[in-house]
Symmetry: C3
Subunit: 361 residues, 3 copies
Amino acid sequence: MNPRWFYSLLFLSTLLSGLAHWFWPGEAVRFTLASLSLILWAAMLGKATESVAHYAGDRLGGFLNATFGNAAELIIATFLVREGLLDMVKASITGSIIGNLLLVLGLSLLFGGLKYRVQSFNPVLAGHNVSLMLLAVIGLFVPAALSFQLSAGERETLSLIIAGLLIIGYILWLIFSMITHKRELTVDQKEVEGEKDEALSANPASETPDWSKGLSILLLLVSTFFVAIQSEWLVGSIEAVAHALGWSELFVGAFLIAIIGNAAEHSAAIFLAMKNRMGAAVEIAVGSSLQIALFVSPALVFISLFFQKPMNLVFTTAELTAVAVSAFIAASISRDGSTNWYEGVMLLIVYLILGSAFYLV
Amino acid sequence: MNPRWFYSLLFLSTLLSGLAHWFWPGEAVRFTLASLSLILWAAMLGKATESVAHYAGDRLGGFLNATFGNAAELIIATFLVREGLLDMVKASITGSIIGNLLLVLGLSLLFGGLKYRVQSFNPVLAGHNVSLMLLAVIGLFVPAALSFQLSAGERETLSLIIAGLLIIGYILWLIFSMITHKRELTVDQKEVEGEKDEALSANPASETPDWSKGLSILLLLVSTFFVAIQSEWLVGSIEAVAHALGWSELFVGAFLIAIIGNAAEHSAAIFLAMKNRMGAAVEIAVGSSLQIALFVSPALVFISLFFQKPMNLVFTTAELTAVAVSAFIAASISRDGSTNWYEGVMLLIVYLILGSAFYLV
Amino acid sequence: MNPRWFYSLLFLSTLLSGLAHWFWPGEAVRFTLASLSLILWAAMLGKATESVAHYAGDRLGGFLNATFGNAAELIIATFLVREGLLDMVKASITGSIIGNLLLVLGLSLLFGGLKYRVQSFNPVLAGHNVSLMLLAVIGLFVPAALSFQLSAGERETLSLIIAGLLIIGYILWLIFSMITHKRELTVDQKEVEGEKDEALSANPASETPDWSKGLSILLLLVSTFFVAIQSEWLVGSIEAVAHALGWSELFVGAFLIAIIGNAAEHSAAIFLAMKNRMGAAVEIAVGSSLQIALFVSPALVFISLFFQKPMNLVFTTAELTAVAVSAFIAASISRDGSTNWYEGVMLLIVYLILGSAFYLV
């Protein structure tokens, strides 16, 4: 698209969405305008992320993107906790994890794989991601498996302990991956090796980004801010729209909110996958789901202590099944550090299976 | 065995089995004759498969064999669905999956491993097989885990959706493995590398098959046809024999029918393993179980719509445990693309554990 | 520590612990003295193990250590079975398995990883260990998953069959790993490769052990004997101490007894990990848990037949969850044959999660 047209449309849709949000009573109009604005800001975010990633290295760029994308989710979830809508919070946490592991990763692998025969990324990082996913599943599985043997108070206590341990684990992971073992976990080197297979693929080093380092960071911040705003407005109107369509809270929380809330990760990851930077794409999808499972979700357990209803980590059977199943198939597919279009198809099939099950439950 | 003797015995046992089937009332005699004929036709099928595999390449040969072997099972299962014996259908699906993953693969690894120290096959194909097995387990696990939250009608709907998704996944897998990524998934190259370890092993290239390409294909079709016929006759008489021995329907369906129905895969896979063509042997065993889980089983859900009782994909705890456990241990053992006799022993031990459990349940 | 001081303290603490055990009524004093003596004997055992491992090769040394360490546990468990305390036996079996897979292995990876950036060991052995762990989990999972469909008598029968199959599997594993495929599964070669990364690391070949081969073996036997004795005395006094503190039998069995009973493995494994002999350290931790799951636990099913109450293999949900979760995370971390400090942290976090859950249940 012509850049001038793009920026005009971005400005216009944001303005109209804001006017509709504050002054227009019709949910359908607000929904449509917020969607349009969100999609454009997400595209903007994708471009800014790629530009920052160019300066910062893939891994740090991916981390920044996951963080900014999930900041929106943490804010939305905190509002839900304040309202005491704890089931909706757990559904949206579940939805974000499986949305990233199955939908975002699946689409990245599929679209990247349709363009490049085989794409590869650092298998050492992939192995660690698998172990971290397993840690997250264990953190949710243990309280659920033992919940019938525990009193409500004991469930609270166990949830707080596990939440604390997962946050400690996540902080140590940042120290490990960013400081002590940055070298082993870099995605750059492998990217370059992977691209040797494809003689005509884009070489990141030869691309000159449109924006300076400072402007890239500024645009990353600004577009993350507007993605968060538009996500929230969309969520506000989507519930009314969804209820009019007769969908359950579980389905809305786990699929609709999660898909919209992860639009940023979507566009950014698929964008990078189609540029054969699969390492950065995986980092966004998997890193984002790990951050939700190991940081956002445990943090909400502590945040909930400031409100009337405390939240525990005991998820429902359907939610636990969804998270465990997603972690296992994503682990099996990403373990070898090499991907293709069919592996994307498998992730999307599992996403559709879970989506159908959640719709019917 | 002298070829002339073999063909004479094959002809004689088939003739006598046919006469007994139509004119003889005693189940024991019919059982014995059908068994003998089946074993001989299975040996014939093994030889024809190997000959076709020589011309077609290991992978396509393995696929053909799995298809022909499972055509028999699909026909038998369709008759059971028509009779409304849906529990027996699910038990025999379960039995075919675990029979291929544990018994056929276990015996192949054991006998191949007793002859060759280490045998290897394409680890990329092995990795994909593992992910596909996991997809099949997820397809069975999700409806079972959520079944208590669903009405009978919702279970039907979910089963139909999942069945449709699994069939789409299977068709795309065929496109992926046969067309777009044939090169990466070939078993031939790795076979040759694997054989370098063993200086005196048989070199497939130097063997001249007894039959021409056309005759090989014809004999493959003919022997598959007779294996299917004899399997069906055997199944007809074995139920009476089994009930006389006091065995449960679950055990008969999951073990006796499955062992006999997979006799073709057995002999062919073990035959190839002992020739150090482990890639083709694994393709038969694993490919066959994947085809049952991702194609035969979902197809039966749709086929059942034409009869009075619709079949869903909600399997019992025992069946689901058996399939999941088999998929996990087979995945763990096959993942590295290298096998030995002890890995065969582990698969057989799991088969015996499940067999004992099914016998007692 | 100065050797003369060490031996004096070892002699003195053992003497005082013995006097307290036979003549002193106060549990706290007996507990403190037995603890001190145990820690010193465990250190002695670690040194003797390393010396024997130097002569015997890492793998045989690791096996000897695991065997001697578990002989103590088998003796203690047999006494518990005689008293009919079957729940305590199962809790201590669970605790030993997870203690080795999470605490011993976690501390080894953490302390080894703080000294060496990346440590490696034979990935072929690691792959087999993962499959064996899975076999052990299957052996416990199948009777538990089907237990509600089985009568008490059928549960006995199934337990005896599975116990027999696991013992056969374990014996064949010894034949496989010690005789037929010793070469592929050696940890020595990989160790040396691993050490190339670290120029200044200790080279095992250049170290001259303090003791001769004969003396090393004698000291291994003597220190194992005293570790067993002191473990038993400690267990005798710790129950009174624990009950005074208000802890449940499950927690005491699975954590306190297991930690103390595995003190020998602890010190030896961590000692080796800090000398960058990670292959031998993993062999102690994983080998020990496999031996308990595949040999000690099934053997107790048969041993229990000689006493009034027969023991079955139906473990509780909490125990099964703990074993399965430990096996999965340890498998995920050890599969690639390469470790670092953060992987140790993940194992320890899971250990703390399970410890908290068992404390509250």
